[in-house]
């Protein structure tokens, strides 16, 4: 029957549905992106933002924030603002670098173990369990102590100790996906195993891999900061971790020089927070129902109706 009247209808329309639009459309992800982007930009434009050598002695130690030293000076008389900005370079590099390595190992080992099962799985799963039960931090400490200290060493050590967790998740998901009919169809049509793994199974778990990657970045930054704080990194490098190490070394906490350790500590926490928010946004891309849910709630808000689980009734003209 017809739309007899031509009165304007309320906006019952959903926003665009491409992946990027979805990610950018989620308020949580927006905030996350802004936070992470601020730090990445700070790292890239460190020279313009905080010109000068962060390792240089610039003034009296433990000066509180002032116009001359935005965040004061640390117990060694270095500019804390410079240290914060320049420190983001190596900290983010180690975080993302180790995450790439961790994810690569986890995907390859996890998928091969989950897909081929049998002896292959027994061996790989044993290795994964081994790395899971070895306490991560002590192994990290050992590795860092015996290997030549440096950025590459840290990235390598973090990847070795941190990949197994995601590997187990990816193995489980592969085992579940390989039972699906579309994989069975690929098997009977004679496709080789590797092609099935990468063409059919991998794209179906991109959400898990990306989620794992984001988690791995957080792990990488946190763990490298922890190592550096313990003095197990090259203390000549400027990272958020070494900043904390030097602040602790000079007794900043004891004399109440909060400006010496708070900025770098906060930076680590903020980046982790931003990455977690981006992960929420990823959920919505891979599960469009969540977007629909969010949009329905906004339609209900517009119509001044309460939230409900049942199919909402929003009367309007037809």
């Amino acid at each position: 029957m017809s739309n007899s009247d031509s009165r304007p209808r309320p906006a019952l329309k959903l926003p665009g549905a491409n992946a990027l639009g979805t990610l950018l459309g989620s308020p949580k992800a927006q905030l996350g992106f802004v936070i992470v982007l601020v730090f990445i930009l700070a790292a890239v434009f460190a020279a313009a933002l905080a010109p000068g050598d962060p390792k240089k002695y610039v003034g009296k130690p433990n000066q509180p924030p002032s116009a001359q030293f935005l965040l004061g000076t640390n117990p060694q008389g270095k500019d804390v603002f410079r240290q914060l900005v320049w420190g983001s370079r190596l900290s983010l590099l180690i975080g993302f670098g180790s995450a790439v390595l961790m994810t690569l190992i986890a995907v390859v080992v996890g998928m091969v173990a989950g897909f081929y099962r049998g002896v292959v799985d027994d061996v790989l799963n044993f290795v994964m369990n081994l790395f899971l039960v070895i306490p991560g931090l002590p192994l990290l400490v050992l590795l860092s102590a015996y290997l030549k200290p440096g950025t590459v060493t840290i990235i390598f050590a973090l990847a070795i100790t941190g990949w197994a967790f995601n590997g187990r998740i990816i193995r489980a998901q592969t085992m579940s996906l390989r039972e699906k009919d579309f994989v069975a169809a690929a098997v009977v049509s004679g496709e080789p195993g590797l092609s099935i793994i990468f063409v059919h199974i991998l794209p179906n778990m991109v959400n898990i891999i990306v989620g794992g990657f984001i988690g791995a970045v957080t792990y990488g930054i946190m763990a490298s900061t922890g190592l550096a704080f313990l003095g197990l990194a090259n203390t000549a490098d400027v990272t958020w971790g070494t900043n904390l190490f030097w602040a602790q070394n000079g007794g900043a906490l004891m004399i109440g020089a909060w400006w010496a350790f708070l900025p770098s500590g906060l930076a680590v926490a903020l980046v982790a927070f931003g990455l977690a928010l981006i992960n929420y946004g990823m959920d919505e891309i891979t599960n469009p129902r969540l977007i629909a849910e969010r949009n329905i709630q906004s339609v209900l808000r517009q119509a001044r109706l309460p939230r409900m689980r049942a199919t909402p009734v929003v009367p309007h003209e037809h």
Partner: protein, 342 residues
Amino acid sequence: MNTKPPVPEAPGSAGGPAAPLLEVRNLYVEYLTPRGPAQAVHNVSFSIGRGQVFGLAGESGCGKSTIAHSILRVLRPPAVITGGQIRVDGADVLKMQDAELEDFRWRKVAMVFQSAMNSLNPVITVGEQIDDVLIRHNRLSPAQARERSAELLKIVGIESARLKSFPHQMSGGMRQRVVIAIALALNPALLIMDEPTTALDVVVQKDILRQIQQLKAALGFSILFITHDVSLMVEFSDNMAVMYAGEVVEMAPAREIFSNPIHPYTRGLLSSFPSLQGRRRKLTGIPGSPPDLVNPPSGCKFHPRCTRCTRLETEAAPQLTEVTAGHWVAYHDGLRLTEAAA
């Protein structure tokens, strides 16, 4: 000739003195999409009397299942009900809150879902799955529930020893029976069956439908029967409606629709199925594909695919009109056609 749009009395309800069990009036359901709302159900009205079977027929995507799910208010986002009334036993479903709906679902209206045999949990025995409903809704003790579950299985023709079976140990037909037993567990007044037998072979299909008919006679519930198999529906339903693009195009007693279809779409639908008896005839089918529901065609939504279309159809949407007693059609030419036939 009687025209009282937009709400025709549904066939069957006029005869009985009591109010119908289910009454759907001017129902609108929309799916919100980035291109705008898709009008999945557009001004649909019908009613089902007590103990009656009402059939909804139509091709995939015409809104049959959407109607079924909106009666239980279980359509998931981005669906929104944008108008109309649904009354079950006098209670206004569209005014209910979550808590009321929890009690209403399954106790008043139960549903056998599409591909229902896959809706059983593979790692729990069927007995436990029937028990669950009884313990949750009727607060029976586990022992009482088990007793009633055995009874329910017997009702649908499965021996009670199979309570301990897992779903994968049963055939498709048996699983379907289990699902029907779960639907009947709380003695609902209305049973919605959304393509309940589509995945089964004709023999089992027939068997199950016969059994449902017997159960209906014994327990007295009404049925909303949804299928695209029109011949099955004609056999099984008292009244039926044919839907196209979210609208009811024809509604009448099932036999009347079968013997005297008026709307070109109904005729097309009926000529898409072979009949088992009678002369052999050519199956014609319906050319074209279903319309875009975000920007539906003007006038009669069927006109782009219709062979008997006039200019009138492309401009004005025909209203559901009662052409003979209990036979409603949304077709400009319907009146003339029936008169010519008479």
